[in-house]
């Protein structure tokens, strides 16, 4: 198909540079510099989509970011299928593939259109009122069907293969918008030498100069001036000019989020380039030059393909050289649409008529239109339109009544005036003020260091816009950087008038007509009136009831119309009804841009111990523990997890096992008041702990609940080596620092995280001492010299060690701390010795089973933030003579000393082979009606090869008084009978500890 609507006499694109593309499988040709929308229009294609709710045929409304209708899918390959792309924003490239959305089986014949025929049913609030019963059917039946029928594009089903960049930037002046006002402000600011960033969402700067043919700046055509200004700015060292870059969010303290589309317009993107780049700009001053957005007229059947904004038709003509029709009607309430009619007329396009609702329009544009012989029907309104897949006629009637005249058209341009784009100002928490004279919201009180210039500030005349922008740019530069440049002088003039217009719909229109306010969400004027009649008083309620302004275009063309209709129906002035809040993003932002590099392997750091490579090469299966990779178990060839863990568990209790405990949190507490500090932070007594001895410490929060635990060794009178749980390391240090800095600042204590500095090799089992003996120098490791719970400093394999005699398995055991750099070498030496004694390497699963056999708790598994030391059977760890420690008062609270608290006990299943599920609930009587009274739950549960039966730990109300009692664990398929037993399943007397 050839570009039959492309005019050789108009536009700025180069005819020789063609680009091929397809839409719904049909091949077309366009020009470099086209948007998808302009290229489609050049080929006479107006029908591009189906509406959200009624599936009505829709065309292209605008020529910019505000587009509500022309949403398409852009497909590059199987993984790159971007839905809901605005055809008015998507730049054309050779080979572009676009598909329409929300239609089946085809765009021209869509079964969903029956929603339109049945539309009297689908009034505002229809879903809320209709699909209420039965309640359960909403999530299971109604919602999925509704979502299927109403909707936008289809999300891609493959992982996003593209890369996205993140940049931070600082500047003195950030100018948002590269139209006449933004360029003038940027030029003035840049002249001072201060750091300037100018961001514009279009491929080229110029803004409204793209279509505003009457603008002359510094003696030349406005568009040409803009391109020269861009070249000048781009060559200045102190200026960063970002095109294809949308400022989508205005955040605290002048931080503005920009998203730069780097490859979206490129036929074959550079594989090294990111698809998009997110900029987080911190600006001393922000100049908002975001322009204004034209509003459509609200009238019956105003949504047919071919009906578009007047300024859009001008942009397609003056910039892209495309006529949007051959017999074009205009329906307006403002002068600016006349300029579109005049431009088209001069380009040889027939203007069927200008229908103006105003009774006595006047001014140069009106006079020129008449002089050109264009028929102007004043005081008239369009009461309906004809055509299905494309507008074919308009019916015009005087507002005062009388006969209706049908005028054939193949396109209709509408304008009801311009809405200042105050979105970013509003996001910055500035207060909007309603200007009665011009019936629009303008920036009022500023909350941040920003200034608005040009159309977004309500300044209409081009000369005033430029003057205002230059002054604002100079002032922003001076105030942010203290710099002054030579005065900038830019002279501008235009014949065009952008003021006036109307809001809402014309009184007297057919109350059953579909006069669309919000095209994207299919909200009509009638829906808004209905919402008010049904009791919605606040605009926030009207919005949510009708969904006006809630689509992906966020009501850029519809909000003011909706507000005006609601205000009129309520009989209140507009400011009293209020405006809904603008929130980021201004236009949709991809998840990819927000996420940037933080995904996959870069989502968060992976922490590996010094011995990780050894475990890997010895076949370890790893598990994630926080950010750590920990060896879970070491299967021999042919072993499953169960077999490997059973073997590891047996070996530790008969010979020995070697375990990487490096992930334990480690904190060194040092200083003259170290012992006093430990007394305050842990429940245990520390002052009398001898140097060279260890103690199991329990840490509480102030409310009396267990916060962490770990073995603490005293290396010197003023030095403690504290261990924490793997997951608790950071928060325990934070907790300690908090008390040290803010509650006990007089204590002379220093806290140092040493988790990463020391690798820890646990050697556990009857042979542990024999294994390490040949490697240790300078430490007597006999039972007499180094009993259970002691610590010595010396050397192992020639490197310094802090050697702990301690056990989390219940066997004789050592934990060898060595500087992390030596971890692997020492591990290999220990492993070599271990081989002589049939030792095994074991992982976290075996560690868990062994400790559960001994009834040792894991904080966070057997406790949940509501467990006291007494509940956990750890009363012995509380220093009874202490007058203070964190949690001492919390423990006295009535609830914490009351009877009936859940206590830690052991459980044995009646069938020894049954392993309970962790988290399973426990009841006393399985025959009681549901909901049953649950008296506790299983916290840890394993198969114990050493015991020959399953074991479990549980928190049960009054658990210690229930020893021997039969309780029940109801599961979906059966009830498991259990017996309450001591939580120590193996070696109850603790004889193994001492060899």
């Amino acid at each position: 198909m050839s570009e039959t609507y492309r005019l050789s006499s108009a536009g700025r694109l180069t005819p020789a540079r063609t680009a091929r593309f397809t839409f719904d499988g049909q091949s077309y040709s366009g020009l470099e510099g086209d948007t998808l929308a302009s290229a489609l229009l050049a080929n006479g294609v107006h029908l591009v989509g189906r509406s959200f709710k009624y599936h009505r045929p829709r065309g292209i409304l605008s020529a910019g970011a505000e587009e509500p209708n022309a949403l398409v899918g852009i497909h590059r390959d199987a993984a790159r299928k971007t839905p809901n792309v605005r055809a008015t924003v998507q730049e054309l490239y050779d080979g572009l593939t676009a598909v329409s959305q929300n239609r089946w089986p085809s765009l021209a014949f869509d079964v969903g259109e029956m929603n339109n025929i049945a539309s009297p049913m689908f009034s505002a609030g229809f879903y809320y009122k209709t699909f209420m019963w039965p309640k359960a059917a909403w999530t299971k039946f109604y919602e999925p069907r509704i979502r299927e029928a109403a909707g936008l594009g289809v999300a891609p089903d493959q992982p996003d293969p593209d890369r996205y960049g993140h940049c931070y930037a600082h500047c003195d002046v950030l100018v948002i918008g590269g139209g006449a006002s933004g360029l003038a402000a940027a030029l003035a600011a840049a002249e001072t030498g201060c750091r300037v960033i100018l961001a514009d969402e279009q491929a080229q700067v110029g803004g409204a100069l793209r279509f505003e043919a009457g603008a002359r700046i510094d003696g030349q055509d406005g568009w040409a001036w803009a391109q020269e200004a861009a070249v000048k700015l781009a060559t200045m060292d102190n200026v960063r000019l970002l095109t294809r870059t949308t400022a989508f969010g205005y955040y605290a303290q002048n931080m503005v989020g920009l998203v730069e589309r780097v490859t979206e317009h490129v036929s074959a993107p550079d594989a090294a380039a990111p698809r998009e780049r997110l900029w987080e700009v911190r600006a001393r001053r922000v100049v908002l030059a975001t322009g204004a957005i034209e509003r459509h007229m609200v009238f019956a059947d105003n949504d047919r393909p071919g009906i578009m904004l007047a300024s859009a038709a001008r942009a397609y003509l003056n910039h892209y050289g495309v006529a949007v029709g051959r017999n074009v009607g205009v329906y307006t309430a403002t002068d600016s649409a006349y300029a579109a009619a005049i431009d088209l007329h001069k380009a040889g396009v027939k203007i069927a008529a200008i229908v103006d609702v105003r009774d006595a329009p006047a001014g140069p544009a009106v006079e020129e239109a008449s002089a050109l012989g264009i028929e102007v029907l004043v005081g008239c309104m369009v009461v309906r339109t004809g055509g299905r897949l494309r507008v074919s006629s308009i019916a015009v009637q005087p507002k005062s009544g009388g006969s209706t005249r049908v005028i054939p058209v193949d396109a209709l341009l509408t304008s009801s005036g311009w809405t200042p784009a105050v979105h970013l100002f509003s996001q910055s928490r500035g207060k909007l003020a309603f200007d009665e004279a011009t019936q629009r919201f303008l920036p009022g009180e500023y909350a941040q260091d920003a200034v608005s210039v040009g159309a977004c500030n309500g300044t209409d005349d081009l000369a005033s816009v430029i003057e205002e922008a230059v002054a604002a740019g100079e002032k922003a530069a001076r105030e942010s950087s203290g710099k002054k440049g030579k005065p900038v002088s830019i002279k501008a003039e235009t014949s065009e008038n952008w003021t006036g217009g109307m809001l809402g719909s014309i009184p007297g229109e057919d109350s059953n007509a579909k006069a669309f306010v919000d095209f994207q969400n299919d909200v009509t004027a009638k829906d808004i009136r209905l919402a008010v009649r049904e009791g919605m008083r606040s605009i926030e309620h009207v919005k949510r009831f009708t969904t006006n302004g809630m689509a992906t275009d966020q009501g850029k063309t519809s909000n003011m119309h909706g507000l005006a209709i609601a205000a009129e129906t309520l009989g209140k002035p507009i400011p009293q009804v209020g405006l809904t809040t603008f929130r980021p993003p201004y236009t949709p932002v991809t998840f990819g841009a927000l996420v940037g590099h933080a995904r996959g392997a870069l989502f968060e750091p992976t922490r590996r111990t010094a011995m990780h490579s050894w475990a890997e090469s010895h076949g370890a299966v790893f598990e994630d523990v926080g950010q750590w990779k920990r060896a879970w178990y070491f299967p021999n060839p042919g072993e499953d997890m169960h077999a490997a863990v059973n073997r590891e568990c047996k070996a530790v209790r008969t010979t020995a096992g070697i375990f990487d405990a490096s992930t334990l949190g480690k904190i060194e507490v040092v200083g003259p008041d170290a012992a006093a500090f430990m007394e305050l932070l842990y429940t245990n007594p520390w002052q009398k702990l001898e140097v060279g001895r260890c103690r199991y410490g329990v840490m509480l929060r102030e409310d009396g609940f267990i916060y962490d635990d770990g073995v603490v060794g005293r290396l010197a009178p003023d030095r403690f080596h504290v261990t924490t749980t793997t997951g608790g390391a950071a928060r325990v240090l934070n907790h300690m620092e908090d008390y040290l800095q803010t509650e006990f600042p007089d204590l002379k204590v220093w806290l140092t995280s040493i988790s990463e500095q020391w690798a820890v090799i646990a050697v556990q089992g009857p042979k542990s001492r024999e294994i390490i003996a040949p490697l240790v120098k300078g430490i007597d490791i006999s039972d007499e010299a180094m009993p259970h719970m002691s610590v010595r400093e010396g050397r192992i394999c020639g490197v310094p060690t802090r050697l702990f005699r301690m056990s989390f398995s219940g066997e004789r055991g050592f934990e060898i701390n060595v500087p992390a750099d030596y971890g692997l070498a020492v591990w290999e030496a220990v492993w070599a010795e271990g081989q002589k004694h049939d030792a095994v390497a074991y992982g976290t699963e075996t560690m868990h089973v062994l400790r559960a056999e001994k009834g040792f708790i894991i904080v966070g598994q057997d406790t949940d933030g509501t467990v006291t030391p007494n509940d956990a059977g750890l009363d012995w760890a509380i220093g009874k003579k202490k007058s203070d420690f964190v949690g001492i008062r919390g423990l006295m609270r009535p609830d914490l000393t009351a009877k009936g608290r859940k206590q830690l006990v052991g459980l044995r299943t009646r069938d020894p082979k049954t392993v309970l599920e962790e988290g399973a609930q426990i009841v006393a009587d399985p025959k009681q009606p549901v909901p049953m009274k649950m008296i506790g739950h299983v916290t840890s549960s394993y198969w114990s090869e050493n015991c020959g039966h399953s074991i479990a730990l549980a928190l049960i109300a009054d658990g210690r008084a229930r020893m021997g009692e039969r309780l029940f664990v109801p599961m979906p398929d059966k009830v498991i009978e259990v017996e309450v037993v001591s939580p120590i399943f193996f070696d109850e007397k603790g004889e193994h500890l001492h060899g």
Binding site: A252, N734, Q741, E743, I888, R889, R893
Partner: protein
């Protein structure tokens, strides 16, 4: 993203470097074992949560690691001032307590 002035580093740093640490000027009673259940409830559980001026603790956790205090307006989300831990609570107009 907020910029927060660390009173120890004496410069504004991005919010990412900090962690909020709850309401400020709640001193741990001494001796804590002597206080009533009601006083303990007030000390540990009850927080003011006003609309407007709040006194709160922050920690420059990814910087100097110091805890400090800040005065912030919850309506505008603006920091009015920051000051070192242990310094007296500044009286600002409009503060609720």
């Amino acid at each position: 993203m907020l910029l927060i002035r660390c009173p120890y580093c004496e410069e504004e740093r991005p919010e990412l470097e900090f962690r909020h640490a709850g309401e400020a000027h709640i001193a741990r009673p001494a001796p804590i074992t002597d206080i009533s259940d009601d006083d303990f409830e007030g000390y540990f559980f009850i927080r003011s949560n006003p609309k407007g001026i709040v006194y709160e603790r922050w920690r420059h956790i990814h910087g100097c690691a110091r805890f400090f205090n800040a005065v912030r307006d919850t309506v505008s989300d603006k920091f009015l001032m920051t000051y070192k831990a242990g310094e007296p609570k500044p009286e600002l107009k409009g503060s609720s307590r």
